[in-house]
């Protein structure tokens, strides 16, 4: 029976890719484990292996083709004892025998049916995507030329610029150097700065977080990458007990200018142990600065500020945002102030406060609401500690209604903190109770449908806004 080879998904977030190169040709015999093709994703070039034995029939997608959707049939493999040429085309010549045309007929039919039944599972994180453009940041001087950049490249550029500027800055973490970063954020740094400043560690989070903290105490400017912040829990003692408290305990003598950075929050279907937002955890600790940017400009401007800061900074990125493209100001030295929120969209009827990936959802919700006659203001906190409560309260004074949107657990969250601030300091301006829109209060499930139910989405923000505006 002819086997259809389909364009594979080679990462949790891949939807399409480039068929870079065929390593087999029509008529080749292949065994399971043989490499059939090279496929390029946005992150890497991957090898596509055969799991079946057989003869390569038709190659249906030419090498070099870009944007091949996952699931597209890219080649036909004839099984053992079959005629590979039989799978070439329906118009097989008559003298090929009776069986061949039947097989050919069978092929596409079988291919079609699974296409309906076996639909790839959609991740709940697909709902976290947003295409909405953001308002201009007043911190960026008027008339600045804008280019576009992914968040991934913006973060890399921030590190590279700071490393050029200050020889004390170095980057350390798992797979940051030779592998070019587990999520390719440190791509190219090893080539430019060499192995004394771009350092691969063993899998020893507690150890290298401690070494980084000690190096900062000793006068260097470490940027410590955690492959994800889930793994930083192995190292959290150093972040909190060693880094955050040193300045205070030493009466201001001993500083700890370190940046702990890496992806935070839910990724795509990686389950409970790899999907958590640690923003509220770190924001709870005096002595730390906690930053969680959304777009490329903030990612770059705030990471540069974090590296220059005299204080320990926890810099929370988001894997699902790394590949998104935003406008980025073309400035020689784009540094943004820490502790300042940003109005992403102006509005007068209701305020939606968010940060990190939630900002995109809030903007999307605001678009939907605009269509229904509700004018929402969207605020990106950008820094979680110190929190820019003036910006939140000023917006509340204008709109009198507030919703907090947060991709994270609801209990003891940043949303809870914002609610408390509004109660304590903005009570007279409230026309409705503050509403929190967060993930469901459960560990993140793996199953696609449950993940979708567990995660925040724009629809839930819209509902909450309608609640506080009594619509």
């Amino acid at each position: 029976m002819a086997i259809e080879l389909k364009m594979p998904a080679l990462s949790p977030t891949m939807e399409e890719g480039k068929l870079a190169r065929w390593l087999v040709k029509e008529g080749d015999t292949v065994a399971s484990g043989d490499i059939l093709a090279e496929i390029e994703t946005d992150k890497a070039t991957m090898e596509f292996e055969s799991i079946d034995e057989g003869t390569v029939g038709k190659l249906l997608v030419a090498e070099g083709t870009e944007g091949v959707k996952v699931g597209t049939v890219i080649a036909i493999l004839a099984g053992e004892g079959e005629d590979a040429s039989a799978s070439e085309a329906p118009a097989a010549s008559a003298d090929q025998g009776k069986e061949a045309p039947e097989q050919v007929k069978e092929g596409p039919e079988q291919g079609e049916k699974p296409a309906e039944d076996k639909k790839p599972a959609e991740s709940g994180t697909a709902n976290l995507a947003s295409e909405i453009k953001t308002a201009r940041d007043p911190e960026v001087p008027h008339g600045t030329n804008m280019k576009t950049s992914t968040v991934r490249d913006a973060l890399r550029d921030a590190m590279a610029e700071e490393m050029r500027r200050d020889p004390r800055v170095f980057v350390m973490g798992e797979e940051v150097a030779e592998y070019q970063g587990a999520y390719k954020v440190t791509q190219g740094l090893l080539a430019e700065f060499g192995p004394t400043r771009v350092i691969d560690t063993p899998i020893t989070e507690y150890g290298f977080a401690g070494i980084g903290t000690g190096a900062a105490m000793g006068g260097l400017r470490p940027v410590i990458e955690f492959m994800t912040f889930n793994f930083a829990m192995q190292a959290i003692d150093h972040i909190i007990n060693s880094a955050a408290k040193t300045n205070y305990m030493s009466g201001g003598q001993m500083r700890c200018p370190i940046v702990f950075r890496g992806p935070n929050g839910a990724a795509s279907r990686v389950g409970a142990q790899h999907s958590q937002n640690y923003g509220p955890w770190y924001a709870n600790v005096p002595g730390l600065v906690v930053i969680a940017p959304y777009d490329a400009s903030d990612a770059k401007g705030l990471l540069k500020a974090a590296i220059r800061s005299e204080d320990p900074v926890v810099f929370l990125e988001n894997e699902l945002v790394y590949g998104r493209t935003f406008e980025l100001p073309e400035l020689d030295d784009h540094v943004l102030p820490i502790g300042k929120a940003r109005i992403m969209r102006e509005g007068k009827d209701v305020t939606i406060v968010s940060y990190s990936i939630g900002v995109g959802l809030a903007l999307e919700a605001a678009e939907t609401l605009a269509g229904e006659g509700i004018d929402a203001e969207v605020i990106d906190l950008r820094t979680l500690r110190p929190l820019d409560k003036e910006a939140v309260l000023a917006s509340l004074a204008k709109t009198n209604r507030l919703v907090v949107a947060e991709e994270g657990f609801p209990v003891c969250s940043i949303a809870s903190e914002i609610s408390a601030i509004c109660m304590e300091e903005g009570f007279d301006n409230l026309d409705a109770p503050v509403v929190r829109v967060c993930n469901e209060d459960v560990p993140l499930p793996y199953a696609a449908n449950l993940e979708k139910l567990a995660l925040i989405d724009a629809g839930r923000i819209v509902e909450a806004v309608k609640k506080v505006t009594y619509r």
Binding site: P12, M46, F48, S123, V270, A272, P445, Y446
Partner: protein
């Protein structure tokens, strides 16, 4: 010849000074008689188990490519002899097993139904964790398989805890805790070594040295790359085993189990093995050459090795093909089951967070 044997240490003279320090006795016992003697039926059974893991993992890789499996998916292809060789020596009525996120093979080697494993990979109601765990988080208390853990190194301390429970309850069980050459550098591993040895806990620490911690070769991450020596400072005897040779693995397991069941405390085994695929599905594996992988496939493959031995014993090519057909059919049934099972009921989102209501 496996590379590990070629550069095996000759003697560790520093430790020999202490006569009572029996760190090498197990290694010596293994070197004196390296391979387990399996009869034809036994070897056929173990061969089929390895083949099941290989075909299951190939299918899982394919389902991932079709988008039916999401997130991270770490395949065990190449390492089959380790789980099968070790676990076949365990007493499944009382011993316990724990491992990291590359866990499909250990579950299959313990006889857990491939259907419920595959259904967990596709996130369905019939999955062994009701679809809530996924590839990295699978458990079977019934089989004394305690996971399936996503955080590198965590399972080592947890395994020592399982051993603590065996000793506390005096149930005669031994815990087997698997971890990789990458996890071997986590600090908690050594904290656990110390307590396990101090308290003579019945545990076998198994380092599956597949040569790469994600993209980092052992020589770039480890000051001491002979991992079996790493228990020395805690007086834990070490063994260095060819993890690509099923019968050597089995023999080493028997020697280690005898020592641990005798109340002598933990054993540290280093199994030299190799993973053919990337660290996870999204790893392009540029840190090693295609030739290196192909070389291991051609020369050291544990399944091909067992197959050759079976043929020497007189098993025919046809009967081996029959086994392959049977295994492929079993895997196909699992995949169909995993694709056709319904997704979990939405109400499952809120179940199992806590056991009791408050």
């Amino acid at each position: 010849m496996p590379k590990a044997k070629n550069d095996a240490p000759v003697a560790e003279t520093a430790a020999v000074a202490d006569e009572n320090f029996a760190l090498h006795s197990l290694q010596e016992a293994l070197e004196a008689d390296r391979r387990y003697t399996a009869n034809k039926e036994e070897l056929l059974h173990l061969y089929e188990q390895m083949l099941l893991i290989r075909r299951f993992e190939e299918k899982a890789g394919q389902l991932y490519g079709l988008g039916l499996i999401g997130g991270f998916c770490h395949l065990y292809i190449g390492q089959e002899a380790v789980a099968v060789g070790l676990q076949s020596a365990l007493d499944s009525a009382k011993d316990s097993v724990i491992t990291g996120y590359r866990d499909h093979g250990h579950m299959l080697a313990y006889g857990i139904d491939p259907k419920v494993i595959m259904a967990e990979l596709t996130g369905r109601e019939a999955g062994i964790s009701k679809g809530k765990g996924g590839s990295m988080h699978m458990f079977s208390v019934e089989h004394r398989f305690y996971g399936g853990h996503g955080i590198v190194g965590a399972q080592v301390s947890l395994g020592a805890g399982l051993a603590f429970a065996h000793k506390y309850r005096e149930d005669g069980g031994v815990a087997m805790a698997y971890f990789g050459d990458g996890a071997a550098n986590q600090g908690q591993v050594y904290e656990s070594f110390n307590m396990a040895s101090l308290w003579k806990l019945p545990i076998i620490f198994v380092i599956e040295n597949n040569q790469y911690a994600m993209g980092t070769a052992v020589s770039r991450s480890s000051a001491e790359t002979h991992f079996h020596r790493r228990g020395t400072g805690f007086r834990i005897p070490g063994m260095q085993v060819d993890g690509m040779d099923l019968l050597e693995v089995r023999k080493a397991a028997e020697i280690a189990l005898e020592h641990v069941r005798g109340g002598n405390g933990p054993v540290l085994m280093e199994l030299n093995t190799y993973r053919y695929r990337g660290h996870s599905m999204s790893d392009p594996a540029k840190y090693r050459s295609r030739e290196e992988v192909q070389g291991v496939r051609d020369k050291r493959d544990p399944i091909e090795h067992a197959k050759a031995e079976l043929m020497e014993m007189g098993v025919t090519e046809e009967s081996l093909k029959e086994i392959d057909k049977r295994v492929r059919a079993q895997v196909a049934v699992s995949a169909d089951f995993a694709e056709s099972s319904p997704e979990p009921n939405p109400t499952e989102l809120y179940t199992d967070v806590l056991v009791e209501s408050y």
